[in-house]
C-alpha cells in the first residue's frame, strides 16, 4: 500500500498530445500544440510568449521562473495556479507544470493573462482554441438546415466574403473557407436529419473550414456560393434526386488525396464557387510535396527571422495550389501543419498514396547571389552498395534502396526543372547534382529536392519571402510537371 501510494505520488503527470491552439495575427497565423496533462490542456509558456511579444530575459531557479516580457515581469511557480504579473496575482484554472523541462501553462493563460501583458488588441472566445491579436476582425456565420426534394440544404450566412474549396475525406465533406479568420458562434451544429448529421467548424491547422458529416453513406454533395460570396449553399442529396438548382460549372478538380494546408499563409483560393464533391474525381496521378523540417526543427533562418520550415511550407502550399489548378495531378502533403515529421513518416505518406513524383522543398545557405535555386537528386552514401538498376525489378526491393531504381528519371526531372527555372528573371539556378539526401532515400518514385537560397543569419530573406517570387517558382514547377511525359492521368511509376 505504502509503495503504491509513493509510486503514485511521484509518478510524473502524463503528457498527451492534443490539438492545436491557433494564434491569429494580422498577416499570419501560428499553431501551438496543446498538451493534455492530467485533465487540463496546456501550452508551452515560452513559445506562447515568444509569439505574442518580446521576451527580454528569464531566470529559472528550482521551481520558479521569472520572465521579463515587454514592460511586464511575470513569475511562475511549478505546481501553482497563481501567476504574478508585476504586482498583481492572477489565478489560472490549473497549476503551472514543468513537462520535459518545458514550462507549461493551462490554455486559459492565453485568455486571462496574455491580454494584460500585450499592447495590441486581443479577441477571443472563452473555451475556444484560438485567439486574435492585433487589428483583426474575425468573421462569423449562422447556419440553417432546410429540406430539399430527396435531400437537405445547409445555408451558411457569413459576415465576410469567403471562398470555398471542397474535398471529400473519409466519407465527410470538407469546405475550406479561404484565409480570412473566422470565430464561429458554435463550434458544431448537430441535426436530427436523414441526410445531414453534423456541420462542424474547424481551424486546428490554421485554416478555417467546415466539415459536413452525412447521416448515411452514398449521398451526393454540391456547394454553391451566392450573394457575392457571403452565403454558402451546401446540398446533400440522394444520387438519383434531381438537384434543386443546377450545379455551377465544375472548376478544376479538387484534391481527393490531400493533407490540410500547412500552417503558413497560402495563396487565396481563386474559385468563387465550389465543385460537386460527391462524384469521385478522375484517377489523376499523385504528386507528393514535402516541406522540409517543421515543428521544433525550424531549419535555416534569415536575419529577419524567416524560418526554413515556414518558407518551405509556403512554397509547398503554392505549388499545391498550382498543381490542383492545372487539373493534372492530385497532391499529397508529407507533413500536415507545423509538425516535425520523421523521414520515414514523410516517405510512407508518399509511397502509401502511390505518388508518381516526389518534390522536397528546402532553403539554406547557397552562397553567392540571392535568389538562387539548387536541385538535388539522390546518391547512395556508398557506391559499394549494389545498384538496383534504373527500373524497378520484379521481386522485393529493400525499402532503403528503392530510390536507386529511379535515379535516371529523377535526374531527368531535375533537368527539366532547371531548364524552366532559368527562364525566371533574376533567379540563379545551379545545375542538378546528386547528394545522399536522407529524405529521398526510400521514395518509390522519381524524386528531387529543391533548395532555395540564400537563407542565412547574415542576410534578410529578401525576395525569398515575396509572394511574387514564390508564385513564379511554384507556377514553374507546376508547368514542368504538367508537360511531363506520362503526366496528367497517364503517369505511372
Amino acid at each position: 500500500m505504502l509503495w503504491c501510494g509513493l509510486v503514485l505520488l511521484f509518478w510524473p503527470a502524463r503528457a498527451l498530445r492534443g490539438d492545436n491552439f491557433v494564434f491569429y495575427f494580422p498577416s499570419s497565423r501560428q499553431l501551438v500544440p496543446v498538451e493534455v496533462i492530467g485533465n487540463s490542456k496546456y501550452l508551452p509558456l515560452l513559445q506562447v510568449l515568444n509569439l505574442v511579444g518580446k521576451l527580454n530575459g528569464l531566470q529559472e531557479k528550482r521551481n520558479t521562473l521569472k520572465v521579463a516580457f515587454g514592460k511586464s515581469h511575470l513569475e511562475f511557480h511549478a505546481d501553482d495556479e497563481e501567476v504574478r504579473v508585476d504586482k498583481k496575482t492572477m489565478v489560472l484554472s490549473a497549476p503551472v507544470r514543468v513537462s520535459d523541462g518545458r514550462w507549461m501553462v493551462p490554455t486559459d493563460f492565453v485568455t486571462s493573462v496574455v491580454p494584460d501583458i500585450v499592447s495590441v488588441g486581443v479577441e477571443y472566445q472563452a473555451g475556444a482554441n484560438r485567439i486574435f491579436l492585433g487589428d483583426i476582425m474575425p468573421g462569423s456565420f449562422s447556419v440553417r438546415l432546410a429540406p430539399l426534394s430527396g435531400g437537405a440544404r445547409l445555408t451558411f450566412r457569413f459576415t465576410e466574403k469567403v471562398t470555398v474549396r471542397t474535398v471529400s475525406v473519409n466519407g465527410k465533406w470538407i469546405m475550406y473557407l479561404g484565409d480570412h479568420p473566422i470565430e464561429p458562434l458554435e463550434p458544431s451544429f448537430r441535426f436530427q436529419n436523414p441526410y445531414v448529421a453534423e456541420a462542424q467548424f474547424d481551424d486546428q491547422d490554421g485554416w478555417p473550414k467546415l466539415v459536413i458529416t452525412p447521416s448515411t453513406a452514398g449521398l451526393n454533395f454540391y456547394s454553391t456560393l451566392v450573394e457575392g460570396g457571403k452565403v454558402l449553399l451546401a446540398d446533400v442529396v440522394k444520387p438519383s434526386a434531381p438537384q434543386a438548382k443546377a450545379p455551377p460549372p465544375p472548376p478544376p478538380p479538387a484534391a481527393a488525396v490531400s493533407g490540410p494546408p500547412p500552417a503558413t499563409p497560402a495563396p487565396k483560393a481563386s474559385a468563387a464557387a465550389a465543385a460537386p464533391a460527391a462524384a469521385p474525381g478522375p484517377p489523376l496521378p499523385i504528386v507528393a510535396l514535402d516541406a522540409g523540417h517543421g515543428g521544433d526543427d525550424a531549419g535555416a533562418r534569415s536575419r529577419d527571422g524567416l524560418a526554413e520550415k515556414d518558407l518551405a511550407a509556403q512554397l509547398v502550399s503554392r505549388v499545391r495550389s498550382a498543381l490542383l489548378s492545372s487539373g493534372k495531378y492530385r497532391v499529397v502533403l508529407t507533413r500536415a501543419g507545423d509538425i516535425n515529421a520523421t523521414f520515414e513518416q514523410r516517405t510512407v505518406a508518399a509511397n502509401v498514396a502511390g505518388a508518381v513524383l516526389f518534390l522536397s522543398f528546402h532553403a539554406g545557405n547557397l552562397g553567392g547571389n540571392s535568389p538562387r535555386v539548387a536541385l538535388y537528386t539522390y546518391q547512395p552514401p556508398s557506391p559499394a552498395a549494389p545498384p538496383a538498376g534504373d527500373e524497378a525489378k520484379p521481386g522485393l526491393t529493400a525499402w532503403d534502396q528503392i530510390q536507386e531504381a529511379y535515379l535516371e528519371r529523377s535526374r531527368q526531372l531535375a533537368q527539366n526543372l532547371m531548364q524552366r527555372f532559368t527562364q525566371i528573371s533574376g533567379l540563379s539556378v545551379d545545375a542538378p547534382t546528386a547528394a545522399p539526401l536522407r529524405v529521398l532515400r526510400s521514395v518509390n518514385s522519381p524524386a528531387v529536392a529543391i533548395e532555395v537560397g540564400s537563407l542565412t543569419l547574415e542576410s534578410d530573406a529578401g525576395a525569398l519571402a515575396s509572394a511574387a517570387f514564390q508564385e513564379e517558382l511554384s507556377a514553374a514547377v507546376a508547368e514542368v510537371l504538367a508537360v511531363l511525359p506520362g503526366g496528367g492521368g497517364e503517369a505511372t511509376r
Binding site: L2, L6, L9, F10, G292, H293, D297, G299, A300, E308, F343, H362, A363, G364, N365, L366, G367, G368, A374, Y376, Q379, P380, P381, S382, P383, A384, A385, D400, D430, T433, A435, P436, L437, R438, V439, R441, A449, E451, G453, L455, T456, L457, E458
Partner: protein, 199 residues
C-alpha cells in the same frame, strides 16, 4: 492506532519521501555529468595525439574545404607530422580541418568540435564519433551540410588510404542526419567529383 504511532508513521513516511527525492536528484546530477567528463577525456586524447606527433619529417596533407556557391571542395595543403597510429592520424586530419581554411572557404567543422573517438574496421571503415557541436555556427542547408560531410570524408580517405569509408557518429550515437539533410545512417564513401578540378 495511538496518536504517537500515527506521528511515528508520518515521520517515517516524510523521511522516506525525502530520501527518494535526494536519490533522484543525485542520480540526475551524476548522469548529466558523465558525458561532460567523457568529452573532457576525449579532448585530452585528441590534444595528446596532435601535440605529440611522430618524430619523422612533416608531410603535406590535403584538406578539402567547401566552396559555397560553387558546390565544390577546394584543396589546401598542411604540413603534419604524422602520429604513429591510423586512428590518431584521422584525428590529426580532423583537427586540421577544424582549424579552418586559409582561403575564403567554408568551415566544415566548428572550431570547438571534439573528436570523441575513432575506430577502424578491417574493411576500411572509420567510425568517427564527434561531439554535438560539430555543426555549431554553421549555416544549415542541403549544400552546406553535404559539402561539410564530404569535406570530412574526402580529407580522411585521401590522406589515409587504408580508410575507404567514414561513418559519422554524434555523441556516441548513430544519427540520421546532421541537420536534416545528408544521410549518415551508412558509412560514406568519398566523392571525388566534388573536388574542384577533380574527375
Amino acid at each position: 492506532m495511538s496518536l504517537r504511532t500515527k506521528i511515528l508513521w508520518l515521520s517515517l513516511l516524510v523521511t522516506f519521501a525525502a530520501g527518494v527525492f535526494y536519490l533522484r536528484s543525485l542520480a540526475g546530477r551524476i548522469l548529466s555529468e558523465l558525458p561532460l567528463r567523457a568529452d573532457e577525456a576525449a579532448k585530452a586524447r585528441l590534444n595528446e595525439a596532435v601535440l605529440q606527433p611522430g618524430g619523422g619529417p612533416s608531410e603535406n596533407v590535403v584538406l578539402y574545404f567547401p566552396a559555397l556557391g560553387e558546390r565544390k571542395l577546394v584543396a589546401e595543403n598542411r604540413p603534419i607530422k604524422w602520429a604513429s597510429t591510423t586512428d590518431d592520424r584521422v584525428r590529426q586530419v580532423l583537427l586540421a580541418l577544424a582549424e579552418g581554411p586559409h582561403q575564403a572557404l567554408g568551415h566544415p567543422l566548428a572550431a570547438s568540435t571534439n573528436v570523441r573517438a575513432v575506430f577502424l574496421t578491417l574493411e576500411g571503415t572509420a567510425y568517427v564519433d564527434f561531439s554535438s557541436d560539430l555543426t555549431k555556427n554553421t549555416s544549415p542547408g542541403i549544400e552546406t551540410e553535404c559539402l561539410a560531410v564530404y569535406s570530412i570524408v574526402d580529407s580522411i580517405t585521401t590522406n589515409i588510404p587504408t580508410v575507404k569509408r567514414v561513418k559519422i557518429l554524434i555523441q556516441g550515437q548513430e544519427v540520421e542526419t546532421l541537420e536534416g539533410h545528408a544521410d549518415l545512417t551508412e558509412p560514406i564513401a568519398p566523392d571525388p567529383s566534388l573536388i574542384r578540378g577533380g574527375p
